[in-house]
């Protein structure tokens, strides 16, 4: 295999069948951001592409890290991010307002974002070390629940419901794949189904209840909370099959579409590129996520497979919630679309997930060599 090609081995062994479509998606994202900025590389498109390549390098670096290092780093990384979450909370309290980020100079960092891959990592490590026989016992449930609960609670009080849900989702999928008894999940699901309506009418604040109601009927409040959903649907629907053409999206250019370069970037894209562009986006995500899942299934050991599957699930959660939101299938929660929305932290998180998947992919190729 080596020397068979003039392409260096380090490059040739990258998963190009996933990276090429992904680069295509980022390029489409850059084009949309270029258009959203009124036909200008600044301030979105250029930084979007630059960040992608910087973080791609980072992902490749991550993919070179050995499995043992991942194992060793799992708890310290998790602990450090929990400390950061507490720190952000403390700074926010001192500053007299809610703060979610730390200013690193070149970008602002949201520790809650980093927690999304970290929770998967720490749970994969936890279930690897847990004796197999205990998986179905309380010792397989309670520590994992605490590991998820601590960061979820901190993020929730920030308050950032979307990220808290993402952390829980990543954790729960990892637990599910770790082989916890199915009946627990079904029981928890039933409990949630019963508790949700009760919580809706008793625990939620009026404005939160209002948000849910508006989601169910966005036209009831066309200028308030329903405005986002309504305008997003107009943008997507008016695009038709082929779209209005590059640079011709009136909804985004005339600022009817809110957050046209971040959370609602898909609507901006669909307006100009139509359903065809939307299907392209869905296809690329299908390729990337199915690749991720294949990597997980091919993984030789419990840690790698749980890690890979959890990372894929985290990326999937972003994609699914964002697309459902912009198409009016979910309430408005501030979750960006991976690889398309403008924003450093989201790109960082997703590239960490991708880098981890690439690392597992590398471990798969040389079974045992680094185990």
């Amino acid at each position: 295999m080596m020397g068979r090609s003039i392409v260096p081995e380090a490059i040739a062994r990258q998963p190009w069948h996933m990276l090429v479509p992904l680069t295509g998606l980022v390029s489409l994202g850059a084009a949309v951001l270029y258009s959203a900025a009124g036909g200008s590389l600044q301030p979105y498109a250029l930084s979007h592409v630059v960040r992608f390549f910087i973080f791609l390098v980072m992902a490749i670096v991550i993919s070179r890290i050995s499995r043992d290092f991942f194992r060793m780093a799992a708890y310290p990384v998790y602990g450090a991010i929990v400390v950061l979450l507490v720190l952000v909370e403390a700074i926010g309290a001192v500053g007299g307002g809610s703060q979610r980020w730390l200013n690193l100079g070149f970008m602002t960092l949201q520790p809650s974002e980093l927690m999304k891959p970290a929770i998967v990592l720490v749970l994969a490590r936890f279930y690897e070390t847990l004796p197999h026989a205990m998986t179905a016992s309380w010792r397989g449930l309670v520590p994992a629940g605490v590991l998820i609960g601590i960061p979820a609670l901190f993020v929730m009080i920030q308050p950032d419901l979307g990220t808290a849900l993402a952390i829980c989702f990543g954790g729960v999928v990892t637990m599910f794949l770790a082989g916890l008894p199915l009946s627990w999940f079904i029981g928890a699901g039933l409990t949630a189904a019963i508790a949700a309506p009760i919580a809706f009418f008793t625990l939620l604040h009026d404005y939160q209840r209002n948000r849910v109601l508006v989601f169910l009927d966005p036209e009831s409040d066309p200028l308030g909370t329903g405005y986002h959903i309504t305008q997003s649907k107009i943008a997507i629907g008016s695009g038709g099959f082929l779209g209005k053409g590059f640079g011709n999206g009136s909804q985004s250019h005339l600022q009817y579409l809110p957050e046209s370069h971040t959370d609602f970037v898909f609507a901006t894209m669909a307006e100009e590129w139509g359903m065809l562009g939307g299907l392209f986006v869905l296809c690329v995500f299908a390729i990337v996520l199915s690749w991720g899942l294949r990597v997980a299934r091919k993984a030789p050991d419990r840690f790698s497979s749980l890690l890979a599957a959890g990372m894929a699930a985290t990326v999937f959660f972003y994609v699914a919630i964002n697309l459902m939101m912009v198409m009016g299938l979910a309430p408005v929660v501030g979750i960006p679309l991976p690889f398309m929305s403008h924003g450093g932290t989201s790109m960082l998180t997703n590239m960490i997930c991708l880098g981890t998947l690439m690392a597992v992919n590398r471990w798969n190729r040389r079974p045992g060599s680094l185990a």
Binding site: M134, A136, G179, A235, I236, G278, L293
Partner: protein, 704 residues
């Protein structure tokens, strides 16, 4: 009791192999769910962009495109020679739509600073906002210069609800001179919008006619609004014009008015409270119709501010009442030519004389002539040109009231006319049937006597007096006309004998040019003679005031009706000076107006000199007064309720206004009963013969 926890966590056989199997199965499930959601999203995408495409395309288009109405340019109002009386001026304006404003106090503050509004203007703006319907635009300022306009325009994104516009505003070049004639425009009120659901009414900058011709011809003057399709951002900023449909300007309205005469007459009135009507006595064209003091219609178009309101309502000269149409006055001696015509038609020989000794006993009272020394022997001509009351007292008793009332009616008194105005008070021509119906009382001889000198129940408006003069001058049924361009049809004859008319015209000429009561009313032209008749109407009983001096509102009204040239009548004119102290206040105005009609330069020379004494043109005096008021009251003027404002402007209930009390007692207004008692010699009252009455201290109607 020992709980067996193991029951809750049943031990299964768990090994690396079973876990691997479970992972394989469950990852497949997770993958399928993910795939399923992917398919769901694709389906949703297809539904939105294919099935619902038409609906959302329409919505995107209605987001993007904003259709705004362009208020139509209002039709011009021109005088008979094409001089504009009301035109449109291009201007820059700023409006506010209350329902779109987020923070009203902040917005007003910002606008106040940008537009440098005075505290008075700010107060008026707040008043207007308080009254306005939420959707109806409120004018903040108009007639702005480009820099100010631009300063507001660039801040529009921060000032939601503020609308800047290049548009047209109504302009009245003659200002106060045409206030009552033309009316004014203003934003449509809620009631007006209720009645007429035309969306142009709530377009910022659109004004509807509020009074007089502007209101009467609203439909014709309005025109059709244009439309402009623009691409706008979500915050309302206009990105570009898509297409524009031009507005269709309203129709031009051409009047019979002569702008020069209208302005001259208004200015010549000076500080008096007066009305002047000038007519073409052959065609009925109204050449001038002025009521002064007036308001400046230019300053009314943005609504009437507190201070303006206070200024207008404090004025006892009632600037808001159109005295030409709504002012009712006892006509005084100006009815005498009419009465004389009725006498002749009833068969009286104009040469039959009566001796005037200064008064005549009627019943148990003595009715005095204005000239207490008496006129001696008086025939009809002398009765007119010397305005001898006794002549008319005497023969009226012989002829009776009905022929007199019939003649008054034929000459236009007591009628309203088909004119495009918003209200006419037609007054009263009394007769026995009318009195019985109105008061349930029998007609008395003294009622006839009062009526023949234009007192008692007699009430006319200045327009009727001008028509009366025109009909006497032409001998035809002249109908007044205000709108130019109707077919010229020779008016039918009145059916009054030409001989009679000639006699009366000669007598009226003698008023000015002969041995008459108003020699100073002669025109300053050797070849043009004026024929006229003076009149002085009492306002209060002589026990209250003499009518000549004292309190302004107790002074007599001064009247003058005339036509010129005497030998070939062309122009008729009537003047009423409220509380002018007698006809001496009225005829100089008529004389100067007719002087202007025949020789503009000569007329202007006279006026320039007079205006220097008065302190400028009416516009200048109005502005000076406003400055005094703003210095004196500032923002302290009381608020005006819209109902009150409406009532005052639209209503102006003519004679019913308490500011103008009119004596309408059944008793004779002029002679006092005690005067009769002091005259024991005047006892042969049953005799219709002239009474050589002695001078009495009090006089009745007293034409000069």
């Amino acid at each position: 009791m020992k709980i067996n926890f193991k029951r809750f966590f049943p031990q299964r056989h768990v090994s690396a192999g079973t876990l691997r199997n479970s992972f394989d199965r469950r990852s497949l499930v997770v993958g399928s769910i993910q795939g399923g959601i992917g398919v769901l999203l694709a389906a949703r995408l297809g539904y939105l962009s294919i099935a619902q495409n038409a609906k959302y395309e329409l919505q995107a288009e209605s987001n993007r495109v904003n259709l705004s109405l362009i208020p139509p340019r209002r039709g011009w109002i021109m005088d008979r020679n094409g001089t504009p009386l009301a035109s449109n001026r291009a201007d820059f304006r700023v409006d506010l739509i209350p329902e779109r404003v987020q923070d009203i106090p902040h917005t007003i503050q910002t606008l106040g600073k940008l537009l440098s509004l005075t505290p008075i203007a700010m107060q008026d703006l707040e008043d207007k906002l308080e009254r306005a319907r939420r959707f109806a635009p409120v004018e903040v300022a108009s007639g702005l210069d480009w820099d100010t306009f631009a300063a507001v325009s660039v801040r529009l994104p921060d000032l939601p609800g503020v609308v800047t516009q290049r548009g047209f505003s109504r302009f009245y070049p003659l200002g106060p001179s045409v206030g009552h004639l033309i009316g004014y425009v203003g934003p449509a009120s809620a009631e007006e919008y209720e009645k007429d659901r035309d969306p142009v009414l709530i377009t910022p900058g659109y004004k509807v006619g509020k009074d007089a011709l502007e209101k009467f011809y609203e439909k014709d003057l309005r025109g059709k609004p244009g439309a402009r399709r623009v691409e706008v951002t979500a915050s309302g900023r206009i990105v570009r014009d898509l297409d524009t449909r031009e507005d269709v300007p309203g129709k031009t309205l051409k009047l019979t008015i002569d702008a020069g005469i209208q302005e001259y007459a208004s200015r010549r009135i000076g500080p008096e409270s007066a009305a002047v009507v000038v007519m073409d006595c052959q065609t009925g064209d109204i050449l001038a119709m002025c009521s002064m003091p007036s308001f400046d219609p230019n300053s009314f178009s943005d609504g009437i501010g507190r201070l303006e309101w206070k200024m207008l309502s404090d004025d006892d000269h009632v600037p808001l009442r159109n005295k030409v149409l709504r002012g009712l006055y006892p006509p005084g001696s100006t009815v005498k030519p009419m009465v004389a015509l009725s006498f002749m038609e009833a068969g009286l020989d104009p040469n039959e004389s009566v001796f005037c000794g200064g008064g005549l006993r009627v019943g148990n009272r003595v009715f005095h002539c204005w000239n207490r020394r008496g006129h001696g022997s008086v025939n009809m001509a002398k009765g007119i040109y010397q305005s001898c009351d006794v002549y008319f007292y005497h023969f009226a008793q012989r002829i009776g009231m009905d022929p007199i009332a019939a003649m008054a009616s034929r000459l236009g008194l007591g009628h309203d006319f088909p004119l495009p105005v918003s209200g006419q008070s037609y007054g009263t021509v009394p007769n026995p049937a009318w009195k019985l119906k109105k008061y349930g009382k029998e007609w008395q001889t003294f009622d006839t006597v009062n009526a023949t000198i234009g007192q008692g129940y007699f009430l006319v408006n200045p327009l009727q007096q001008a028509i009366q003069a025109s009909r006497i001058a032409s001998g035809r049924v002249i109908m007044p006309r205000l709108v130019h361009g109707h077919e010229q049809k020779v008016a039918p004859s009145l059916g009054i004998s030409a001989e009679h008319l000639a006699y009366v015209r000669q007598a009226m000429s003698d008023v000015a040019n002969g041995p008459g009561s108003a020699p100073h009313s002669r025109l300053p032209f050797p070849d043009i003679k004026l024929a006229g008749k003076t009149g002085t109407a009492q306002v209060v009983g002589l026990n209250v005031g003499s009518g000549k001096g004292g309190l302004w509102k107790h002074r007599d009204h001064g009247h003058f009706i005339c036509f010129a040239p005497f030998d070939n009548p062309r122009y008729a004119c009537s003047v009423v000076v409220e509380h002018g102290g007698g006809s001496g206040a009225a005829y100089p105005i008529a004389r100067d107006v007719l002087t202007y009609v025949f020789d503009k330069q000569k007329g202007m020379d006279i006026l320039t000199e007079l205006e220097q004494k008065w302190g400028g043109t009416p516009k200048e005096r109005l502005e000076a007064r406003y400055r005094t008021y703003s210095a004196q009251y500032g923002v302290g003027a009381p608020a005006v309720s819209p109902e009150e404002e409406n009532r005052k402007i639209q209503g102006a209930e003519g004679a019913q206004d308490p500011a103008q009390p009119i004596v309408r007692e059944a008793a004779s207004p002029a002679p006092e009963p005690d005067a009769a008692e002091r005259q024991p010699s005047a006892t042969q009252t049953t005799s219709p013969a002239p009474t050589p009455a002695v001078t009495a201290p009090n006089t009745g109607g007293n034409p000069q």
